[in-house]
């Protein structure tokens, strides 16, 4: 095997192994964060049995968002993100991270145009697309309801 062949082999093999590792890490850390969410949900249900399922689910989101924001503030979450990739981005804690991380970074540019404006550099698209989609879905269901 000459140098060129070897180079080809390395090229073929390297991204694959790396890719497999990122997938595995995303799976493991994402799964663990979801289990933590289930734990919070179960704990809240046990603590406040009078709350209905919807409120528990909303409160679980609030608690997870708090944890995500706090860990971002402490500088832990972004380090985790380096390994976890989508495993830390996709859970709701990652949504909190996407708000707090740029807010901290741009704080030095002023509170209004730095912190407050840059908070939404990633969350903005998420909120705009999500709310728009929900309005569209609501209108479609309303129209279907008129004929049903």
């Amino acid at each position: 095997m000459d140098k060129k062949e070897y180079g080809e082999l390395v090229k073929q093999a390297t991204p694959k192994t790396k890719e497999g590792k990122t997938l595995l890490l995303a799976f493991a850390i994402g799964g663990i964060i979801c289990m933590a969410g289930q734990g919070v949900s179960d704990a809240l249900t046990a603590l406040i049995p009078s709350f209905d399922e919807k409120t528990i689910s909303a409160l679980t989101g609030v608690v997870m968002i708090f944890i995500g924001s706090l860990l971002t503030g402490l500088g832990v979450y972004d380090k985790l993100g380096y390994y976890a990739g989508a495993g830390s981005v996709l859970p709701i804690t990652g949504f909190a991270n996407s708000i707090v991380s740029p807010a901290i970074e741009y704080n030095k540019e002023g509170i209004v145009f730095g912190l407050m404006a840059k908070m939404f550099s990633i969350a903005g698209p998420v909120i705009v697309s999500g709310v728009s989609a929900s309005v569209a879905i609501g209108i479609v269901y309303y129209i279907i309801g008129l004929f049903a």
Partner: protein, 122 residues
């Protein structure tokens, strides 16, 4: 034993969702904002066509803790509102995620104010 099985399912479903996201990032060089939007819309769409409930029944927090759950809440609120009228159909989605959004904005603001910016190191 049953609780162990529940958490195993949560782990597997949550892990599968995140690994799918990672696969998208690897294959298409998507930014995290795009991945978040994609999964949010996927969650909303699954709820709109009535499939989200089946996945949720099996995977619980595995599908509701990822951003897909945020999309589901938006769609579910809109669908619920549509039963009352056009006004509620339009505001129902945002109303149902009011708690989460308020938390994200308020906690985010306060924590960003008191946190010091750290140099990006890996």
């Amino acid at each position: 034993m049953e609780i162990f099985l529940t958490y195993l399912k949560v782990f597997l479903v949550g892990g599968a969702v995140c690994a799918t996201g990672q696969l998208l990032i690897n294959k298409t060089r998507m930014t995290s904002a795009r991945v978040l939007v994609t999964f949010l819309l996927a969650g909303a769409l699954l709820e709109a066509v009535g499939l989200f409930g089946y996945i949720e029944e099996f995977g619980k927090a595995g599908i509701t803790i990822p951003i897909t759950g945020f999309g589901k809440s938006l769609a579910a609120g809109a669908i619920e509102g549509a039963k009352k009228g056009l006004y509620d159909a339009c505001i129902g989605g945002l109303a149902s995620v009011a708690a989460g959004l308020t938390a994200a904005i308020a906690f985010g603001f306060v924590i960003a104010l008191i946190s010091k910016s750290k140099p990006k190191s890996t």
